[in-house]
Each structure stands twice: as C-alpha cells, then as structure tokens.
C-alpha cells in the first residue's frame, strides 16, 4: 500500500475514534480539552504503529512523466467534483439530516445529554451515533451549532471516496483507476447522496476501507486490525452496518481469524462492539425486530412483495447505479471466459444485496414507502465497495490479456 493511502485511512480512523471517545466522555462530563489530548495521543500512537508496520510502496520507482500524468488525472477528478458539488449541494441536507442525524447530534452535547432518552420513536433513538458524535464534537469545540459542520463532514467523505479508489487502483491499472475517478466525480447521484448529510455515504466509506484493508491482510496482520476497526466503524454508523459487517466477517473468517489472527481482529473490533451492545441495551430495539408479529410469516410467503422489491431494485440498478450492472456483466464475462468462480468480495456484496432484499421482505413499514425512501440509499452504501471490487477484477484483465498474447 502506498504511504498516502494509509495516511488517509489513518485520518479516517482518527475521526471515527474521536467520535467514539467523545460519545463516551459525555457520560462522565469530560471536558473537551481532555478529548483533544486523548485524540492527539491516539493519533501519534497509531501513526507510529502504522508507519512501523506498513511497508510503503516505492513511489520513486515510477518515472516522472507518469507521475505527472497521475497527478493531472487526480486533480482533474477533484476539480470536476468541486464544480458538480456546487449544483448538487443543499443548504441543510435533506429530511433525515435535519430531523435525524443533525438532530441526534444536538442531544450529544454536554448540556443536552440528559435528554437523549427522550428521543421519540419517530426519530429512531436506536440508530448508532458515529455521525452525530462527529458533528456534536465539532459543535462543542467551536461553541456553535452551525450547520456548516455536518456539511463539511459530508463534503470530506464525498471527496475522499473517489480519492481512495484512485490511490489504491492507479498502480494496479491506471486506465481503470482514471475511469473510476472520473465516473464517480461526474456521478450526480453519488454527489447528491454524499451532500445530503446522511450516514449512508459515511457507512459506504467505512465499508470501502474494510475492503481496501483486507486486500493486504494476508501479508500483514496490521491490516487485520485496520479491517476490524473499519468494520467496527460500520456497526457504529448505521444499523445496516451490523448486517454488512457480519456478512463481510463470515466470508473473510479464514483470513481474519486463523493462525492467532483473531487477536488482531478483536483488538480493532472490541471497542465499537462493546459500545454498540451497551447502547442497544439502553435504547429501544430497532423497528425491524420490535414490530415483528403474526404477519411476519404472511409477508415471507407473499410473492407480490418479492416482485415489488425486485422491481425497485432493478429500476435503481438500471437508473442511478447502471455502472454497477455494466461492471458486473463485464466481470461475469471474464469469469465465464476464464472458467473460474467469481471473487469472494463480489459474493460478499451480492450477499449484502440479498440480505437487504430480505430486510424489505420483513419490513413492518408500508413496503412501497420503504422502498421509495430507502432502496437507493442502501445501494449508495454498497456502491463504493462495489466499484472498488469490480475495478480490482477488471484491472486484472490487462494482465490476463498480456498472458494470452505472450
């Protein structure tokens, strides 16, 4: 892995740590300065730990002209993002941001923490608090509740996803890396979701980081801890993150747990898991579990629900996320020609889609409303990881063709 990429991953990890430590500090009324000191200590410690354990790839091995080309593409991608953001942004985010995520953040301030149990059913008190924690921390720090803070957090996440994809892919296949960067930079749907100030794209970022880290986990156990940290971030960002992390962990169990590697995994996963369990114990159960009743079996056997969910899923994939379909078809062709099984990471994402499908089957809300409001956001959560996994596979195409010609 190149140095810039692990430094970016370190920074994202630091942001997540700050949110968690801030949330914990509220229960002992800890001054903000203590949190900042803890963050600095954690930052220095983890930076040294990563610097010592990760062998950065040698950038100087690339000739200068190629390096300049890499820069030009990256700068062009970021410039397009800035231009598009101007049109895609909304001042206060959208519905869920102001009545849910930013609203929860208001409870996560020292003077309002006593009200946290007063959150009504309608504002989903069971939702994990990674994003509200980040927002509340900066609000406390600057003694304001200015809505520019959630905007900047959303902006950072929106910009950093294509940068991570590019930085990890450019050495594998520059053409694919450039295409992925420009594809996301020009994707109005992605930019809109990113700037809605929802937790979906942050969840997508953490899930993407887990996929990036696990690629290097076989050679270096440091990446197992990093993968676990990002999976921990997923479960503390959204309830869907619990499901995605579980599927991911099951598929990568061999890499993550065998040969005493489980210790590294626990080191990264234990704290977010403990916080989530404690929080879930204190707060009401999530709607999907709490509201199940005698109709559950009827819903499970209702074929019309399956048809409706499939129709929404298919429409969304063909509309907003058409490139996932094209990439998957291309990859399917490669698998067919090479006569091999699809990659494990592709299977993880397909399993995530199936799991999401069944969440809709069992939902206690009005199905059509739930599909209209959530299907596209769920796909947006998976999109960065999907693009990354497919791009990695397509990157191998060049090598495959070279072998054939050879």
């Amino acid at each position: 892995m190149n140095k810039i990429l692990w430094q970016i991953l370190w920074f994202i990890m630091l942001m997540a740590f700050t949110s968690i430590i801030y949330f914990l500090s509220l229960f002992i009324n800890c001054p903000i300065i203590i949190i900042l000191i803890l963050t600095v200590i954690f930052g220095i410690f983890t930076y040294k730990w990563l610097n010592k354990n990760i062998q950065s790839s040698d950038i100087n091995a690339i000739d200068k002209r190629t390096q300049i080309l890499y820069y030009i593409v990256l700068i062009a991608g970021i410039a397009i993002v800035i231009n598009k953001i101007y049109y895609a942004q909304t001042q206060f985010g959208e519905w869920d941001s102001w009545w849910l995520w930013n609203y929860h953040a208001r409870f996560l301030t020292h003077e309002n923490i006593k009200y946290i149990s007063h959150q009504t059913k309608i504002t989903h008190p069971d939702y994990p608090l990674m994003l509200p924690g980040m927002i509340a921390l900066f609000w406390q720090l600057f003694h304001t509740q200015n809505l520019i803070i959630p905007y900047i957090i959303g902006l950072f996440v929106t910009i950093i996803i294509p940068v991570i994809l590019y930085l990890d892919l450019y050495k594998k296949n520059f053409l694919i890396a450039g295409l992925v960067l420009l594809l996301i930079a020009t994707d109005d749907i992605y930019l809109r979701f990113g700037l809605m100030q929802y937790a979906d794209i942050p969840l997508g970022l953490f899930f993407l980081c887990a996929f990036v880290c696990v690629q290097y986990a076989k050679e270096n156990t440091t990446f197992i801890t990093l993968t676990a940290i990002f999976l921990g971030c997923c479960i503390w960002t959204k309830n869907e993150g619990i499901m995605l992390s579980l599927i991911f962990t099951l598929f990568h169990a061999k890499t993550l747990f065998t040969n005493n590697r489980w210790k590294h995994f626990i080191a990264g996963f234990a704290i977010p898991l403990a916080i989530l369990i404690g929080y879930k114990y204190a707060m009401p159960a999530t709607d999907l579990i709490k509201e199940q009743n005698h109709k559950t079996l009827t819903q499970f056997l209702d074929w019309n629900r399956y048809k409706l969910i499939w129709q929404y899923l298919w429409d969304n994939i063909n509309g907003d996320f058409f490139y996932i379909k094209i990439g998957t078809i291309l990859y399917g062709i490669i698998c067919f020609v090479e006569k091999k099984m699809p990659d494990k990471n592709i299977l993880i994402l397909l399993c995530c889609l199936i799991a999401v499908f069944f969440v809709f089957v069992f939902t206690t809300k009005t199905l059509q409303w739930h599909l209209e409001t959530s299907m596209d956001r769920v796909l947006a959560q998976l999109m960065p990881a999907f693009v990354y996994v497919i791009a990695i596979q397509l990157s191998k195409l060049k090598l495959y063709l070279s072998d054939k010609q050879g």
Partner: protein
C-alpha cells in the same frame, strides 16, 4: 506520488466547496425560517376565517404525502401589528416530545394545527 500534492488538493477542494457554499446560501433564510416562506408578510391581506396554505418542506410519504399546512387566518390576524414577527412551523412530534427543541429555541407555541394525523406547531420567539 508526493503526499503534499494530494493533501493540498483535498484541502483546497474542501475550502473551495465551503466558499462556494457560503456564496450560494448567503442570502437564504435559516433552517426554520425556510419552512415559513409564504407566511411572512401575507397576513395583512387576509380576511378572517380564510384558510391559507403554507408550503412546507415535509415531503415524506410516511406522513400521508402531506406537503401543505393549513392555518386559519384569525391566528394570523391576531398577530397583525407585529410586522416583524417571524412564525415557525414544524411537526409537533419533533417539537414537543423532545424538550430540547423548545428549550433551546426559546419558542412560544401559539397555535397547533391538526392536519389529518399530523400535528403542526406554530410558534414565535418571545
């Protein structure tokens, strides 16, 4: 790649976007005032018992697809003479069930509207 080039790009992108955000929204009202667009300044022209429609920002179909809040004119008429009063409309379940909201905004609830099964609050600052 040189780290500083990448970091500069990211930081510049964020700074530029925030700058553009500030320019774009500089003249716009605050979040709660956004919901009262249409209320301010029109009450002078209303006769009593006329229903006025306030275009609201709520478009969530979970709330029966309602986008309109109906407010009776007398409520508005009572406020005549208070030309500078800004009224705030927001859902009751958010406003009242959470003590934080009323506390922090220092609002006075002046009227509640029952729109199907959604309760709205009309409030003003003291």
């Amino acid at each position: 790649m040189k780290s500083w080039v990448i970091y500069s790009c990211i930081v510049l992108a964020i700074v530029a976007s925030v700058f553009l955000y500030k320019i774009k929204y500089n003249q716009h009202p605050t979040v709660l005032e956004k919901f009262t667009t249409g209320l301010n300044g029109i009450h002078k022209h209303l006769s009593p018992y006329t229903e006025i429609k306030v275009q609201c920002a709520y478009s969530d179909p979970n709330f029966n697809g309602s986008k309109i809040v109906y407010i009776l004119a007398p409520v508005i008429a009572n406020l005549s003479g208070q030309q500078d009063t800004t009224l705030y409309v927001f859902p009751k379940n958010i406003a009242l069930d959470n003590p934080y909201y009323i506390d922090s905004k220092k609002m006075i609830v002046i009227w509640q509207n029952h729109d199907k099964d959604i309760d709205y609050i009309l409030a003003k600052k003291p």
